[in-house]
Amino acid sequence: MNTRKIILLFCLLFVLVSSATAKTTISWWQFWTDPSIKPVIREMVDEFERQNPEIEVELTDLTWANGHEKIVIAFASGTGPDVVELGSDWIAEFAVNGHLADVSEDIAGDSSDYQGWGMADYNGRIYARPWFLGTRVLYANRELLERAGYDDLFMPVNWNDLRVAARKINGLGKGIYGWGSNAPEKHRLYKKYLPFFWSAGARIFTDDEMKLCVVASERAVAALDLYKELHDSCGYVANQRGIEDAFLDGKVGLIISGDWLLKRIENEQRKINFTTGLIPGLRFPGRSFLGGEFLAVNEASKQKEAALKFVRFITSPENQVKFCVANRSANPSSRTAQQDEYFKSNDNLQTFIRQIAMAKHPPVDPNWVFIETALEEAVEETVFGSALPAEALFKARKKIDGLEK
């Protein structure tokens, strides 16, 4: 055997060994960077790699400030990750342009254990797997309620209770407000109005094929009337964070917020005497806004199988519980996870789990961002301007009709 043959043999062996040990690398872009949760994310990734030695996961952190822009630019330039975390209202905009893999077949087996599929369903196909859901509930300052004459079991369950309680708290003195009224914050204001809108039985579109916009209905007007009344009579106006600050400082009696506030109260060791309850409805507890975090696979990914495997692993009930415990969050999408003792042992977390069951998500529509803007403008024009609720909602309907043509 001459030298050339030996070198050739070595090269061949090298190629064979390399290909035998080559790992599939999948990239995952996600938003959880909080020091309390990042190690858990890392731990889950490590565990996945341990169980699947042939797959390597490349983790990239995004921020809420510019994560959406980064994802859009990456997908548009063909450099999107294999797996990406998407907010529920972003799914349609990526799905309609063919950027997300259709995972309808993949989820067929275990869909019954998960909630929130509706938000990933675009034209009858599923484009993402629900990871965590998000809803809003009513927070009440127990001390202010008691000072207003209520016993320690009271919590407003209907619109009238809410109206009266907010006014009574507002009457406690200067600097005390009954209701936290959200300033015109983009992507947030509509989430404060929708709970009343859904609870009144209002809809954005008809359910039939005509898909007519019906936001200017009598029920929607009634919901906006109530929202305006609360704002005018006893509203403390600030952005979401400002309202929560005021609530924690004991200045506001009743606010609508998410589960992140529970975490904040714990982290900042606030001594506030508070309670949570379901969103008040017309006569009984009503429906809240439903959103969520989803994991989607890039349609252009060359490692779809590995990516789907990873998505299944991360969204498994065990990992959801692990995540929620670390993040003190209340909204796993898996029903099995919701049965965990961690959720059962905490009344406030139970409020969120019960509210999720009664919550409703906005329509999955590529135009949602504009529909949302039209709704927010209607609320702004009514609450901060001089428009009548019916007039503002009629204007919103015209804008939405224009989008859907």
Binding site: H68, E69, V72, I73, F75, A76, E93, F94, N97, G98, H99, A183, P184, E185, K186, G235, V237, A238, V369, F370, T373, E380, F384, G385
Partner: protein
């Protein structure tokens, strides 16, 4: 050592490449896509001619941003210029602690806009110091704060902008004042000219190039107002300006690059026309002065 033309070019190459790649190319590219319906996530786009420009003219959001931008420009430039000139005249005189005043007036100009905007957001809110001061002099500020009312939000931001900008322009005026020969004032004083006459006959004409520079620079800056709006109101309460409109259209919601580019070119055209108008106006004034 003698520099050859090629070595000079080589040394300038990093800048030339940066200019071509990150300035000239995007400028030309955005001009072209202004005639298309390009959206970032949509894979295909079409040439639509002037449709974007036509759509802009009937877009209420664009018209509102255009109106607000003009209010901002016309409402801030005269105040900024006059106050900056008055301050420069004041700190140009000899008095104790002059350096402290000069530095104090200039500090807002070197402070990050985001920081200033956040401070003023607090000052303007319900129960903030501005509202308190307004109440003390018998005014009734909006119930939920100055930034949560369409009647006051834009003007509040404009007032903050004037406060922030005057120090910078004061310094430019000061440099202009220093370049005026002292003999002119002495001769005028000997001829019996009073302070007001000296100001209008010597100071102002001699400062004409500085005034022109400040007007042009300030106009361009004011037409491009964005950070204040982004931090303080996010375009709500009738405060959306043209650059904010471009940002909203191009970099949020649907990433409508074509439409946003067309809006950006409308802004470019307005700034160019406004600058030319200022040049012509001041050239005529020179003849009068």
């Amino acid at each position: 050592m003698k520099w050859s033309r090629s070595s000079a070019l080589l040394l300038a190459l990093p800048w030339i490449l940066t200019f071509l790649l990150f300035w000239l190319f995007p400028i030309l590219y955005s001009f072209i896509i202004g005639f298309t319906d390009q959206q970032l996530l949509v894979k295909e786009y079409q040439w639509i001619g002037l449709d974007n420009y036509r759509a802009l003219l009937s877009d209420p959001a664009f018209i509102e941003s255009l109106k607000n931008t003009f209010i901002f420009v016309i409402g801030t430039i005269p105040f900024t210029t006059i106050i900056a000139l008055a301050m420069a005249l004041m700190v140009n005189r000899q008095f104790k602690g002059r350096g402290l005043f000069r530095a104090g007036y200039f500090i807002p100009s070197i402070t990050a806009m985001v920081v200033i905007a956040l401070v003023f957001t607090n000052l303007y809110q319900r129960g903030g110091y501005i509202a308190l001061l307004a109440s003390m002099v018998g005014l009734s500020p909006p119930e939920h704060g100055l930034l949560f009312d369409s009647g006051t939000a834009l003007y509040s931001i404009m007032a903050m902008d004037v406060w922030m900008a005057v120090g910078y322009y004061m310094l430019i005026f000061l440099a202009g004042l220093k370049s005026i020969p002292e003999e002119l004032y002495e001769a005028a004083a000997l001829s019996g000219a009073g302070a007001i006459r000296r100001f209008f006959s010597i100071t102002l004409p001699m400062l004409k190039p500085v005034v022109l520079f400040i007007l042009v620079i300030n106009s361009i800056k004011s037409f491009q107002v964005f950070v204040e709006i982004f931090v303080m109101t996010r375009g709500k309460f009738e405060t959306s300006t043209m650059v904010y409109f471009v940002y909203e259209t191009g970099l949020t919601t649907r990433f409508q690059f074509g439409y946003a580019s067309a809006a950006a070119y409308v802004l470019f055209l307005i700034i160019a026309l406004f600058s030319v108008f200022q040049f012509i106006l001041l050239r005529r004034r020179q003849a009068l002065w």
